[in-house]
Assembly symmetry: C2
Homo-oligomer: 130 residues x 2
Amino acid sequence: MSAYDSIISSLKFDDKGLIPAILQDHENNEILMFAFMHREAVEKTLTSGLATFFSRSRNKLWVKGESSGHTQEVKAVYFDCDNDVLLVKIKQNVAACHTGYRSCFFNKIENGKVVTVGQKMFDEKDVYKK
Amino acid sequence: MSAYDSIISSLKFDDKGLIPAILQDHENNEILMFAFMHREAVEKTLTSGLATFFSRSRNKLWVKGESSGHTQEVKAVYFDCDNDVLLVKIKQNVAACHTGYRSCFFNKIENGKVVTVGQKMFDEKDVYKK
């Protein structure tokens, strides 16, 4: 039983039991990542202080940074007017994106072309080893 | 045939043919809204200069602001590392939220309670008349 039970119960999860979450840098408001949470992940995010998701590819609870060390320290949590989207302001350690970019949103559509605009923080093959 | 055809074809739409879009103020990076686009809405957003969505409740193309006048002028469009989320930087006219708040994310979870933190820009019953 968590202090957040009634708030979590007021959230609307989709037909797969998931709610989208937007991850935003708490200092400069940069959008860093987008992922889904199930009920348990929302509770963990609110109580543990580390952004936690539901990994659809691995079908399990996923504490962001558990393998890379690139954790996301939760600074504030908001939800929208329809109670069906979360906004989590975080302190991002190193980088949010598994490709090495600080933000997952490094592809910009410009004059009909895709331009890479992100800031590369690490080389993916050095961090995610077998 | 649009100049954006190959870019749009590289995006991943979900099993309902939709892709999530995060709407962000192009000046201060505030998150204003979250909605879904289908293929036609993405193309309209890229070519018309006004953020356009798929309304799941009305099951049709939805140019944001078409009834309220609270349009969203597109300043830049990004997509993420997995090609399955869009980030649209906009100039928001008046307010993004139909409730009258500038941002839809006016609910903050603080010490186990929900606090309203948004900036109210209009009274909803004055704008959305029958």
